[in-house]
Symmetry: C2
Subunit: 348 residues, 2 copies
């Protein structure tokens, strides 16, 4: 008969990660002391002990168990990020800014993708909530104030649990927001295009109710009209490239006069439109001008280069992170956008 107590192994099952306990024992100090030097902060501990503990930790390859820390402290070092589609450059750039900021702050970011599906979004927030994140950055294109009560419920639960929520984009919701001046930027674009001599425009937008889209459409219309232009059509579709091509197909089917300008409310949509225009045998630029919004890198690579409105996405992400960490943060400066006139909208 083997001695059941002796059999399983040495002291500890040396397969799992070393615990704080292991480190303390190895350093010959108490758990509390080890905790203080390794994780806790303000407390003071003698130099000699500190060094002992640190080297033991190093030697053992100790890494604090964040989950345990979180359950003990009641709060985690996690920032949750909710985006519509991480493969979309808009969100990629944004996520990049968030991730950088998080890294600087010693936080970890958890990411989830809504695919612009409301049900999915609710499910995801619920799941994210399980992490008791320190904060949640909501960057998925919000649909107006029509916020689903169930989503609202999950969101409230998250804040009730001590997490801060920050939205990025249009703002106007129930949470602090990093404001992007979509309306102003679009207005400036409208004015600039009118000044370039355009008089007729077709707008390609997302579904009605998507704030970002609505704001850009309205702003553009104001600006373009104030410059003497006329919006001949507003076609709504998906927020992706495919949405742009089909909307443009529809526009072309209805007839597009030479010299008109097409405003896609995002560069991705505009690029889809460019593709549709080409496929229809028309020329982008002098024949049918195209402008977008966001200033994703691709816009500079296409020919003719895409006129757009620059949105400092990485910076926005970074600011969103700071905002979510700062309890006193309510609203920063609205992010001002800059019009970038390029060859896709030549002077007429």
């Amino acid at each position: 008969m083997t001695d059941i107590t002796a059999d399983p192994g040495r002291d500890r099952p040396r397969s799992a990660s070393p615990t704080l306990h292991d480190v303390a024992r190895h350093a010959g100090v108490s758990l509390a002391t080890a905790s203080r030097v390794l994780n806790g902060s303000t407390r003071k501990v003698a130099e000699s002990y500190g060094d002992r503990v640190r080297s033991s930790a190093e030697l053992l390859g100790y890494s604090a168990n964040l989950s345990a820390q979180a359950t003990a402290k009641g709060t985690s070092a996690i920032i949750a990020l909710l985006v519509a589609d991480i493969a979309d450059p808009y969100f990629g750039l944004l996520a990049s800014g968030v991730a950088h900021g998080a890294d600087e702050a010693g936080l970890v970011v958890t990411i989830a993708i809504t695919e612009r599906d409301a049900e999915r979004e609710i499910r995801l927030v619920r799941a994210l909530r399980g992490q008791r994140p320190r904060g949640l950055i909501l960057a998925a294109s919000r649909r107006a104030e029509t916020t689903d009560p169930r989503l609202k419920h999950e969101l409230d639960a998250l804040t009730a649990g001590g997490g801060r929520i920050v939205t990025v984009g249009p703002g106007g919701g129930d949470f602090p927001a990093v404001l992007i001046d979509n309306r102003g930027g679009a207005r400036a674009l409208g004015v600039a295009l009118a000044a370039r001599g355009y008089r007729s425009a077709i707008v390609l937008g997302a579904l009605e109710g998507v704030r970002t889209s609505d704001d850009r459409i309205e702003g553009f219309s104001e600006g373009f009209r104030s410059g003497g232009g006329d919006i001949s059509r507003v076609i709504r579709g998906g927020f992706d490239r495919e949405g742009g091509t089909s909307a443009m197909d529809e526009a072309l089917a209805g007839g597009v006069a030479p010299g008109a300008v097409v405003f896609g409310i995002s560069d991705v949509i505009a690029l889809g439109a460019v593709s549709a225009i080409r496929k229809a045998g028309r020329e982008v630029g002098a024949d049918i001008a195209v402008a977008g919004f966001d200033d994703i890198p691709t816009g500079k690579d296409v020919t003719p280069a895409l006129t757009t409105v620059h949105v400092p996405l990485t910076q926005v992400g970074h600011e969103a992170l700071r905002a979510v960490l700062d309890d006193s943060w309510v609203s920063g400066e609205t992010i001002i956008l800059e019009v970038l006139l390029r060859e896709s909208t030549p002077q007429r």
Copy 2:
């Protein structure tokens, strides 16, 4: 004097999230029972109790505390993803696949960005390790077998802690990998370009030692030479757009004969090259042909459309996720790539 025990509030500090305890009490069952119906699985519990518990949970807005679950179970529901740069479409697409798969599996994805900085990478793995993730997907461009021992140490610690590691890309490391046939794809591209009549090529790659880059360079060289072509120069630089432009500038300074083809080992690099070529007043296509690798969406939008090798990144990400979850997974089918000949490399 206020009664200190009565003062702070009702039963519980009704500000934090309701706990399993709250739910159990509300439903009038034991903690264990509540746990079984809500989270645990196999165990059976009477229908009546089950319903009671579920509705209590619903009513209270209960959401399992993942951290607590993790400390109790010793394993988390987290998948960590390490990429070089989330704003790069390559990684964006990959992350998208991972995120989708994770969602299906009820897992949460934590993301970190190395920026191709070795020090940073070590730090990040250490941080990620704190989460005791169920798995880690390593997609940051690995630098050959020159793996830093400290990184190796962190990685080993992570597996020792029960996490599985899967790399995506070249493979050949110490961990299971989702293999991408960079070499074969590049070889096929070389052959195809030679068949299109090209005889002289300039290769724009990343720094020596970056496996993905090296494999693509070697594969391309083999293929192109086998078709009768000649590699006139190999210029190495950064893995981003800027790396492509400066490498191309260098190539142009040395002189590039009309009819040559430039192979950028990634689309992003190739796009940078295109930009440099244009700026130098040369024409892309008939004059200087350009080919890339990856097949990022932008490649279809530029003019002339970019010849490239399609890498099913989203699928790769999805497979990486499955691989990291499946302990018995060692290596799947190598991902086969497909050459996409477009207008940037016209027939000569």
